[in-house]
Symmetry: C2
Subunit: 330 residues, 2 copies
């Protein structure tokens, strides 16, 4: 199987990590995705790990000349949809950074390209589904650990650190809700399987330490099918002194129990045992390797194309809600 | 100082606990507040602790004959406002269970009675402000531990247990957002000092185990002055197997740090020290004793009348939002 990588901005590490367990996949080409995007980090890592890709200056040239079977796309965020669609139109499978689009128009265009791609597959880089704590929690919830889900709260909190220029303009960045928050919005859909009905959101770029339009904090509330509710808290306010870069959490309250992911642990209270207990973690699985196995027909990726689109839609509707201070319906 | 107690439904324990450190206060009368309200638990505890109150069948008779200086009101929730207003109209100070009203009309009536009460004072039983963890956290935040507050998430989670009949009808209960959630809504106002601007909320009575109209879960999102956002999660989904009745939490993310109250601990990350640290707790103070000292002019209660009204307004607007599935503005 031939792989190409377009861009070096997002979670290309998912791809490079996955390659280690995919001897049948050959990295044949790399290129920038966005204008002015540096890809030195990518070419260096590729060389260090024994790959010999051809470097193209333009992603269209790469698609046409390298003729990959599968392409990973992770450039400046507003270019994800356009490049993913170009690949799909050539029948190439796409593993694309989230959000898969930064506007509803781009999302509609990408969905259309996917529908007409003649079976080419797509998955967004919702890699935290494969984090052992979230992966374990999801299996427990699917196996009935909390009964029927009623209420969820998800949290993404990051250190701000130093951000590239494309983070500082909405046009290239898309917003903190789609970039940071999409994981949390993905979890509330993934765990519950419920449909989004409405969203109300807010965000603020105040105190962003000179990062232009970048929002430092955001909150979203979703009403979902079955009278399920979900709140989502998103911020870049995690202090530099914090023990880790991120503080990812979800709390899921159901008819039979309450489960939490916090600090890399899975904590459960239900009727099976007195008190709160920590669940043993399932072994780590690899998102990109799973996607490649799905393409080969030997496995199933946890992230479907439809979920990739639907969660992006939820993120973009949350941005509209926050920008316009109104409820947006699905 | 003469005290009377009307009702035995809510947190009368705040009053009885406070009396132990108030030898100058004499319990002169007790009565039911609501039709059909049992007060056996109250009269028994009063007798056991050496008080000799006269028992009245009707709260108006109590107000007129026992002539208390201060009255505690904690009956079925829809009667709080009416009885508190009756007391204020007689110039009697009022310590009243939250929510202080279950409709905006009742709240307006109570506010009017307070304005015309000639200096009679009022505080709602937001007793969790006096819980050592919340009390310690509030002092830390006030002293600048997190810098400027940007984002908050508050949680109230209770065991359902067995609920009296007045919980099962909205008319007498007022809703889970005002009853359980009012504490959390109080915290986000109390910690930040910010004004509420909009609220979007949802609640659900599904799976309530035969408890009529009682909502089992609710979620609220508030936008607040200064582009501060707050989400609130409220439920009766805490399993019987849980180690405690309630799971009260708040997370406060600010420009300089993140503070949490969770499991009775106060956890802080900011620039003063590497990593997360637990703050030593301040000694417990007593809400009712503080209110009596405020009346006597020797202290200040943490809960003001204006805050009692304002937080109740926020709760009731959240109920309207949830009932009508729309944003409600302040």
């Amino acid at each position: 199987m031939q792989l190409a990588i377009i861009g070096s901005t997002g979670h290309i590490n998912y791809v490079m990590d996955g390659l280690r367990e995919l001897p049948e996949v050959r990295l044949v080409g790399v290129s920038p995705g966005s204008e002015g995007e540096p890809i030195g980090k990518l070419t260096e890592r590729a060389a260090r790990e024994g790959h010999e890709p051809t470097v193209y200056a333009d992603y269209r040239e790469l698609l046409d000349k390298a003729r990959p079977d599968v392409v990973a796309v992770a450039c400046f965020f507003h270019d994800h949809a356009k490049i993913a669609a170009e690949a799909l139109r050539r029948g190439i499978h796409v593993f694309v950074e989230k959000p898969v689009a930064t506007s509803l128009d781009d999302l509609a265009m990408l969905r259309e390209a996917y529908r007409n791609a003649g079976g080419a597959q797509l998955a967004a880089m919702f890699g935290i589904r494969y984090n052992p704590a979230f992966y374990t929690a999801w299996h427990a919830v699917r196996d009935g650990a909390v009964g029927g889900i009623r209420l969820m709260h998800a949290q993404k909190s990051y250190r701000l650190g130093s951000r590239g220029e494309h983070f500082k303009r909405r046009e290239t960045y898309g917003g903190t809700i789609p970039w940071v928050g999409s994981h949390a919005i993905d979890w509330v859909h993934w765990f519950s399987g419920a449909r989004f009905e409405t969203v109300y959101a807010s965000h603020s770029a105040m105190h962003n330490q000179g990062n232009g339009e970048l929002e430092m904090s955001a909150a979203c509330q979703f009403t979902m099918s079955g009278q399920i509710a979900a709140t989502v808290s998103i911020d870049y306010l995690r202090p530099a002194a914090a023990p880790t870069h991120g503080d990812d959490r979800i709390r899921i309250a159901g008819t039979e129990g309450v489960l939490e992911v916090r600090g890399g642990q899975v904590l459960l209270i239900n009727g099976e045992q007195e008190g709160e207990r920590e669940l043993p973690l399932l072994p780590k699985a690899d998102i990109f390797a799973d996607f490649v196995r799905q393409i080969a027909g030997t496995g199933t990726c946890l992230v479907s194309a439809e979920q990739s689109f639907y969660v992006t839609e939820a993120c973009l509707k949350a941005v509209i809600s926050a920008d316009e201070n109104r409820v947006v319906t699905f």
